[in-house]
Amino acid sequence: MTTKQRTFTPAESEDARQIPVRVAEVQEDERFAVEDRDEPKVMSFPHLVLREAIALLGMSLFLVLLSLFADAPLEQIANPAMTPNPAKAPWYFLGLQELLHYYPPLVAGVLLPGLVVMALIQIPYFDVNLKREALWTAPRPGRATLVLLVAFAVAFLFNVAAHNTVWPIIIPTVVVGIIMALPGYLGAHGRLLSWLSSRSIPFYVFFWFLSVAVVLTVVGTLFRGPGWALTFPWREGIY
């Protein structure tokens, strides 16, 4: 066996044994997984596991009780020749179905839901959203009036595109606009106003989206009957 002179050429290999000389490069890097704060910690077992077990059992108990006392609906067999009036989708779609009452299907069934999903996805990437600075640090009536005007303009725009007056959008839009503007006029007096004044614009935008979604769903679920006419659950019941 002869000993050969080893020659080293700078190269890269994924197998460190192949190239015995290594060059280390110190690079700035960050792993979120090791982010640590000096604050109280507990062992996951048993503290977290126990809480999870309680949550699992509690939820199961709730679902079992619900299923013991309420029966899932089952109507007549599907009959394409007999359209029920109203023909309602499950409750989580009734906000959309309510929109169909005001807008052409392209807007209500495609454009608006598509925009909502895209808006949700972009939330963490849209730079203006990220800082979450307080909207009001001092009373600014001028800016408060601007906020109100924007709310009215948004409500108006939603209405122009509709063929019926969209009260379920107009009302929450204007109400949220007023809530948003209030600390701008009155200043941060009292707990409620100071809490409202320290909210950020993204908070209010999401709050507005939530209000509109809830109002549309509630109206569609409880307040609509045959021909999608307005009904009152305490008078006519729920369709």
Binding site: F45, L120, Y125, S198
Partner: protein, 264 residues
Amino acid sequence: MSETKETTLTAEREKRRGLMALLHGNRVFRSLFRHGLPDTNRNRALATFSNFFLHVQPVKVRLRAIKFTQTFYLGGLSLVCFGTLTITGILLMFYYHPSVPRAYEDMKDLQFVVSSGTFLRNLHRWSAHVMVALVFLHMVRVFFAGAYKPPREFNWVLGVILFVLTVLLSYTGYLLPWDQLAYWAVTVGANMAKAVPVMGEDIRFLMLGGTEVGENALIRFYVLHCVVLPLALTGVIALHLWRVRKDGGLHLPPLKGKGGEGDR
């Protein structure tokens, strides 16, 4: 320390360990769980760490992160619903034929012939409704906590995908009983698809396997509901939970007096 006192202490400790110690000493038990009695921090760490189901979680957690009011456990509770739906869904599949009119007759059988059939269907149905609500509430909670901000932005996107998948699962399941409620709810939805410009008709045709809601639509919805969507949801949930850890655990507002005023 006197010898008697020491023996009493050990005896006391042994008594406390009691049955659990016996269990942990058992050879069969030890082949399942390799760690000893979890009465030391080391064994508690191993209990999390060496367990396939628990190792998704870190060995130690910040006390604030597991407080109920931090998350209201909404993500976990959504997961409980999904688990219930999977189990009851598999049981329902034993009784279900995706054909017309058999599908509807199977619903009647569940109601009048199968033991606890009504309860089984109720559990599946209500868990589905509760899950849609919980997933939405979880999203709302995450938004108001500001937990979508970097480095968690991609997990938020995965969340939106989970929400869409959850709704689609509910929607496809809605057709399967083949009653009037099912038929017309799906007809309303399919008509919305028609409104898509240019490709509307084609999308609807692809969805229904025909021009109207019939047996082809039923088999398509059945396969989507029982195979495609649950698998997709399982996969994305796994990614989602993995990301929660890789993004540094739960998002918590900065501690008081350490700069920052929390999320607004």
